[in-house]
Symmetry: none
Subunit: 215 residues, 4 copies
């Protein structure tokens, strides 16, 4: 989603602060409960500026999702997945990156895209549509990894990369949702562990199934 003419780095500071504030508020309260005034207050910016940069609340919702996806891409880039030679190792590395990212305290738990999808997916397509696309883009990345791995390592049982990617997407979103209500990230390593065990297991590669004493 860095297709915008104006990438986040070369963005006016006020605009960036507004987006950052929106991301934080959506994670904390969801989209509907977040008000424009709140965003402005947290960003330390007046409403005049807000409506200069964004035509309406929806637009900053889109921008927040874009920023969120870009941040996630940044995490993957920083992980230098492409430097891992074997496609299956690359896939395995993805699970580690995910677990690490979702446990980093500096990154608020939750997912802006998933939150918007849950709240508006069914009733507001102008935001729900883009949220769906963001999720699909995420899934496509995973599909590519799975396909490459399949090409390099014939799986023990045949599977559809699309289906497994959807399975992983659901797992991730559900884990973040439960994490939010429980207000702790305890289940992250557990859920990612089981997911890794399953997916790598499809390739016949043994992965550790999480057991009580570890957690």
């Amino acid at each position: 989603m860095l297709t915008e003419a104006e990438s986040k780095s070369e963005m006016p500071e006020k605009k960036r602060k507004l987006i950052d504030a929106t991301v934080g508020l959506i994670l904390a309260q969801g989209y509907n409960a977040t008000t424009v005034d709140q965003i402005c207050q947290v960003a330390g910016v007046t409403k005049g500026s807000f409506f200069y940069y964004f035509a309406n609340k929806e637009e900053i919702g889109l921008a927040a999702m874009d920023a969120w996806s870009a941040a996630w891409e940044g995490i993957l880039l920083a992980a230098e997945l492409e430097k891992v030679a074997d496609p299956l190792d690359r896939l395995a590395r993805l699970f580690d990156v995910m677990e690490e990212a979702y446990l980093t305290p500096e990154i608020p738990s939750g997912c802006v895209v998933g939150t918007v999808a849950q709240e508006l997916g069914a009733c507001n397509r102008s935001l729900g549509g883009p949220s769906e696309i963001h999720l699909d883009v995420w899934a496509q990345g995973v599909i590519r990894l799975l396909t490459d791995a399949k090409a390099a390592h014939p799986p023990k049982v045949d599977f559809d990369p699309v289906g497994v990617a959807d399975f992983m997407l659901g797992m991730v979103q559900g884990t973040l949702l439960v994490t939010k209500v429980r207000q702790n990230r305890r289940i992250v390593p557990n859920n990612v562990g089981h997911l890794r065990a399953y997916v790598l297991g499809l390739f016949g590669r043994d992965a550790h199934v999480p057991v009580p004493e570890e957690i």
Copy 2:
């Protein structure tokens, strides 16, 4: 959650209609976007009646979650899981029931509890707390099944029933979330299929991994 003195069946009709309307609206738009006026209109009831039965919007939110959980328990009861002798078969049956339920067109897709949890879990504990409890109750039922199955059938690899139940909970919630944005239930059989394959696989029982041509 049928512990209330007043079960849904012996409830005043208007109250029942209000709760039903709320369930539908929360599934469609989420909690925050649902207004009291909307609920009344859909239920065909006046606001005077609404506030006779519910002190405030939060209270009907709680009632909607209770009704939702009760409905799910009703589905499990109707499935007569307890009549399945072998605990592992019982567990296997659960996946079938889940898949069937999430695909029944009469039951709107999504989960009231999960929706409330996503929107309010982190910022409104008076609703977030109960939503968390509902999720935990669901998980506990699964934990029981897993424990019984473990007792009857030594698993191929050891696992923690609590962790696996959390994994399943996350999977279910995430699947419903993605289903909502995608506006179709195509991933339900896929995700439940993978989940079944993984969990039964822990017991060494082969389950069919979903493949493309089936979907």
Copy 3:
């Protein structure tokens, strides 16, 4: 105001409780802030009963004022003013009775009639009118005392009993108002003391002017 066919003593208990609750609530919060539901709750009665005994909220407001005036008459009766032979002594006794009554902790401070008069006097004559009459009835009683005293004891300076009664009425109402905000009755003896000193002074009778160390 015992002209009602049904005096308070031979009143149904529920009706009496409703009136008592109303008196207390008006003293505590005023007329407008007092709701019918509140009255019912404090009285331990349902709304069905309320609207059986009173056509609307205004009517119980009138009844509360009547009850309040009746209670005050009861205090005067109990004080047996008429047994004091000398009219001026009778007048002097009135001040003592007032001071005592306004300091009795069991009697909530404030005046139902004055409160209604303040809130509705200018904009709701159906309650304001009767409140005015109640005040006038009080004043007339004082006028009688003053007139009798004047007849028996030629005053040092001539005065109009009506004017002095109004002065006393104003003083009493103002004192109760200030007492209410200050949330203590400290000024009661002070103000009644000055009032007594002035009125008795008109007759040349020395009355103690309140001084600091007493209070």
Copy 4:
């Protein structure tokens, strides 16, 4: 109370109109019966503007009391009390100013502070507290006058300036209350007359006791 950075003269016009409207409405109907919509309508301002200037109804209640007190200080300032050399003459002049002010038809009869005190003094301290303070400030001004007068003119009988100021405060508030329900100001000169006679009498100075034919 002119300590606010923003005195009424340099206030946005809409804000001023809102306060003026509130003052008028509180005098006419009291605080509780006055609605925000009414205030806006009388002021010729929309609700959007109202809530731009005032966070809530309470806040404009405070502002109305401040404005009212400031207006009264303005009257005293205009009367140039401080130019009267003799402290006792100054005190005497205060009675004239009061009588004059309370009889000016342009100034609506009643007292915003007293009205709020009566309605909310006992049950809403966020408004009751400030109303109490306003009354105390008024009393303190009188205490100063009485103390100065005592220093310059040894009184005939000793008295406590604080007690006499409270007496005067009660008298004023009560008079305004009765004036409101009677819907005429006839008792103002009478009550102020008696009050002046009493207070000046404490200094041995003869003041005219109001007699019938004058009124």
